[in-house]
C-alpha cells in the first residue's frame, strides 16, 4: 500500500469501498449522479450501490431500462452539459453493445470536437470470471487501449477501489473503471477521510529483487500468493500493480525491470489480445537491453471462457501459473 497516511484504518469490502466512494462524491457534488440497471432499490446486483437510492433519492440514483447504448451515450450527453455521470454497465460483458458509444464517442468526443468539451464521466464495468457465462465473464480492458481519450483504471484492493473511483469522478476526462466481480467480496483496510488515489500511478504491492511480476485486478491477489510460495524457494518477486492501463506508469515498471531483468505479466484476460501484449511490447521496445530472459505472459487460455466452472479451472490463470512462469525464467 503506497498510502502514507498514519490514521486508523477502516476495514471494508471492495463493494462497500465502491459504494462509499459513490456516497461521498454524491454528497460532495450535486452534479454527480449515477444510473444503471437495478442500481436503485435493488442496490446493484453486486451490492455496490447499496443504500444510495434511499440516501440520495431517485433523482440522483436512477434505474435505467435495459438500454446500454443509452446508459453510455446518455451519460455522455449529460457530461457534455454540465453533469458528472457515473454510469454502470451491469456487466462489463455488455461493453460490446455500447462499444460505439464507449470507444468512438465517450473517449473521442472531446478531441473530435477540437478539445472544446470536457467529458467528466465514469463508466463502471464489473469484469472477470465469476461463473456468469462466456459473455459476462470477460476482462475487456485491452480493447480500450486505442480509445485514447479515455483513462483505464483497474483497482485490486478496496482502498484502491475507493481512492481511484473518487479520483475518477473528479477527473475531467472519461474514465473506464473496471471492477473484478470476484474482488467485490474481498476486504481490506481503507484510510479514513477523503481518501484519493491518483490515476496513472502504479503501486508496488510487494517489493522484491529477482523477478518483476506486473499484475492487475484479481491477478494481484494471485501474484501475492505466488510470492509467498516463491519466497520459500528463495525467489523474491516484485509485484507491480499498474492500477490501470492509461495513463500507464511506465516509470515504475521500467525501474523494476531495470532492477530484476526478468518480467512476468499476469492478467485474467486471455493471452492473445490481452493488454499483456502491449506491456510486453513496450518493454521489448524500450528495455530490451535490460532483459535477461524472455518476457512471460500468464493469462487465460486462448479460448472463450467456458460456461462450466469445472472447465474454467483449466482456463483461468491462478497463482500456480505465476509460480511456474517465474520459475521458468529464474
Amino acid at each position: 500500500m503506497s498510502d502514507d497516511s498514519n490514521a486508523p484504518l477502516n476495514v471494508r469490502t471492495f463493494s462497500q469501498a465502491i459504494s462509499d466512494a459513490l456516497d461521498e462524491e454524491l454528497a460532495r457534488d450535486d452534479s454527480v449522479f449515477i444510473w444503471g440497471e437495478d442500481i436503485g432499490t435493488y442496490g446493484g446486483i453486486y451490492g455496490a450501490t447499496g443504500g444510495l437510492f434511499e440516501k440520495h433519492g431517485p433523482e440522483r440514483v436512477i434505474d435505467t431500462p435495459i438500454s446500454e447504448t443509452f446508459i453510455v451515450g446518455g451519460g455522455l450527453g449529460a457530461a457534455l452539459t454540465g453533469l458528472r455521470p457515473v454510469v454502470e454497465l451491469q456487466s462489463g460483458g455488455y461493453f460490446g453493445i455500447a462499444m460505439d458509444e464507449l470507444y468512438n464517442k465517450v473517449a473521442r468526443w472531446r478531441y473530435m470536437h477540437g478539445g472544446k468539451f470536457t467529458v467528466p464521466m465514469v463508466v463502471r464495468l464489473p469484469e472477470g470470471a465469476k461463473g456468469a457465462g462466456q459473455e459476462h465473464d470477460v476482462s475487456p480492458e485491452a480493447l480500450f487501449l486505442s480509445a485514447f481519450g479515455a483513462e483505464i483504471v483497474i483497482p485490486s484492493t478496496p482502498a484502491d477501489a475507493k481512492g481511484l473511483l473518487k479520483s475518477a469522478i473528479r477527473d475531467d476526462r472519461p474514465v473506464l473503471f473496471f471492477e473484478h466481480a470476484v474482488l467485490y467480496a474481498t476486504s481490506g483496510p481503507i484510510p479514513p477521510g477523503d481518501h484519493l488515489v491518483p490515476i496513472g500511478v502504479a503501486d508496488i504491492k510487494r517489493p522484491g529483487s529477482d523477478v518483476t511480476v506486473i499484475a492487475w485486478s484479481r491477478m494481484v491477489i494471485e501474484a501475492l500468493k505466488a510470492a509467498e510460495e516463491l519466497d520459500s524457494e528463495g525467489i523474491d518477486i516484485e509485484v507491480v500493480d499498474p492500477r490501470g492501463l492509461r495513463p500507464l506508469d511506465k516509470d515504475t515498471i521500467f525501474e523494476s525491470v531495470e532492477k530484476t531483468g526478468r518480467v512476468v505479466i499476469a492478467h485474467e484476460a486471455p493471452k492473445t489480445g490481452g493488454a499483456g501484449g502491449e506491456v510486453a511490447a513496450i518493454i521489448a521496445e524500450e528495455m530490451i537491453e535490460c532483459l535477461e530472459a524472455p518476457i512471460v505472459r500468464v493469462a487465460s487460455k486462448d479460448v472463450t471462457l467456458p460456461q462450466s466452472r469445472h472447465l474454467q479451472q483449466y482456463v483461468l490463470p491462478q497463482a500456480a501459473q505465476i509460480v511456474d512462469a517465474v520459475r521458468s525464467i529464474s
Binding site: D38, A132, G133, K301, S308, H310
Partner: protein, 316 residues
C-alpha cells in the same frame, strides 16, 4: 378449435416443464449445478402454447426464463440436465451450465444470447434464411419486457417487417426486468410498437395456454403464407425471484398472490375438470407419469462423467 386431446396435452407439457425445473433446482441445492438460474414458474403457458404449433424444422431463439422453450421444442431432458451439471452428456458436451447455451440445430433450437436482445437480429436472419431457401419455415423469438428496450429490437423488427420475414416476436411481459417494473422502464405499450412497423400487434393472456396457442397459431399461419411477422405481447408474471436468491424487495404488496390465483397450470387443470375434458384422477396420473419421466432423465444425466481439460479446446 383446440381438441380435447390437445387440451390435455397442454396440461401434460406444462407439468413437464414445471417438474423439470423443480428437479433442476434440487440438483442446484445438492450442489451439482454451479450456476445461477432464472425460474420460469408461472410462465409455462407461453413456451408450451407458443411452441406447440411449431414443426421440427421451425426455429426458436429462446429466452432465459426457465426451460420450457427447449423442452417443448423437443430437446432431450437428459441432455438438458447434463448441460446444467456441465457433464459430457449435455448438448454442449460439458461446456454449458449457468445460463446454458443449449442448442440443437436439427430441432431448430438456435440458442440463446447471454447479452439480452441478441435474439432479435439472429431471429430475423433465420427468418430471412427460411424465405431465401424457399421454405415455409417460421422462427419464434422469445424475449422479456425488459429486453424489448434494447436497440436490436428496433433494427430487427423493422427489417422483418419491411422484408415480410416469417418471424413471430413473442414478448413475455412479466412486469419486471430484475427489479425494475415495466412501467418505469418501458414507454407506452410494447404491443403498440407494432404500429410503428406496420405489422399486426396482439395482446394475449400469457397465463392461459389456450389463448397463447391460438394467437400464435394465427401468427404462424400468417408467417407461413408470406404475410410477414407479428408482435405478440403475453401478459404474465413470474412467481419466483428474477434468479434464485433474489431478495425480491421490489414487488408490490399482494401482487404475487393475485397472480398466483391465475397459475397457468392450476387454472388450466381446473378448466379441464370443469369442462369435463379430463377427470382429476387422469390429470394426477399424468402428473405422476411426468414426475417419473423427469426423475429418470435426471438420474440418467447424473451418470455422465465430467469432461477433461481437452474439452476446452474442442468446438472453437
Amino acid at each position: 378449435m383446440v381438441t380435447n386431446q390437445q387440451q390435455v396435452k397442454f396440461y401434460e407439457d406444462m407439468v413437464r416443464v414445471m417438474l423439470w425445473e423443480q428437479r433442476a433446482m434440487r440438483l442446484m441445492q445438492e450442489g451439482k449445478v454451479l450456476a445461477g438460474y432464472h425460474s420460469g414458474r408461472g410462465q409455462e403457458a407461453i413456451p408450451v402454447g407458443a411452441i406447440t404449433p411449431l414443426r421440427d424444422s421451425d426455429c426458436i431463439m429462446y429466452a432465459h426464463r426457465g426451460f420450457g422453450y427447449t423442452i417443448q421444442k423437443g430437446m432431450s431432458m437428459v441432455d438438458m440436465f447434463a448441460d446444467l451439471m456441465a457433464n459430457v452428456g449435455g448438448s454442449t458436451g460439458g461446456l454449458g451450465a449457468g445460463i446454458p447455451h443449449f442448442a440443437d440445430p436439427k430441432l431448430g433450437i438456435l440458442g440463446q444470447g447471454g447479452t439480452l436482445g441478441t435474439c432479435f437480429p439472429i431471429a430475423a436472419g433465420a427468418g430471412f434464411s427460411a424465405k431465401y431457401r424457399g421454405t415455409d419455415e417460421v422462427t419464434i423469438c422469445f424475449f422479456g419486457d425488459g429486453t424489448s428496450n434494447r436497440g436490436t429490437f428496433h433494427e430487427a423488427l423493422n427489417v422483418a417487417s419491411i422484408w415480410k420475414l416469417p418471424v413471430i416476436w413473442i414478448c413475455e411481459n412479466n412486469r419486471y426486468a430484475v427489479s425494475v417494473p415495466s412501467e418505469k422502464s418501458t414507454a407506452g405499450r410494447i404491443v403498440d410498437r407494432a404500429i410503428g412497423y406496420g405489422i399486426p400487434g396482439r395482446s394475449v393472456d400469457g397465463m392461459d395456454v389456450v389463448s397463447v396457442y391460438e394467437e400464435v397459431t394465427e401468427a404462424i399461419d400468417r408467417a407461413r403464407s408470406g404475410e410477414g411477422p407479428t408482435l405478440i405481447e403475453a401478459e404474465c408474471y413470474r412467481f419466483r425471484g428474477h434468479h434464485e436468491g433474489d431478495p425480491q424487495v421490489y414487488r408490490e404488496d399482494g401482487e404475487i398472490d393475485e397472480w398466483r390465483r391465475r397459475d397457468p397450470i392450476e387454472s388450466h387443470r381446473q378448466r379441464l375438470i370443469d369442462n369435463e375434458v379430463a377427470a382429476a384422477e387422469q390429470l394426477d396420473g399424468l402428473q405422476a407419469q411426468m414426475a417419473s419421466e423427469v426423475e429418470l432423465a435426471a438420474q440418467e444425466a447424473e451418470n455422465f462423467p465430467m469432461p477433461g481439460p481437452e474439452r476446452v479446446f474442442q468446438g472453437v
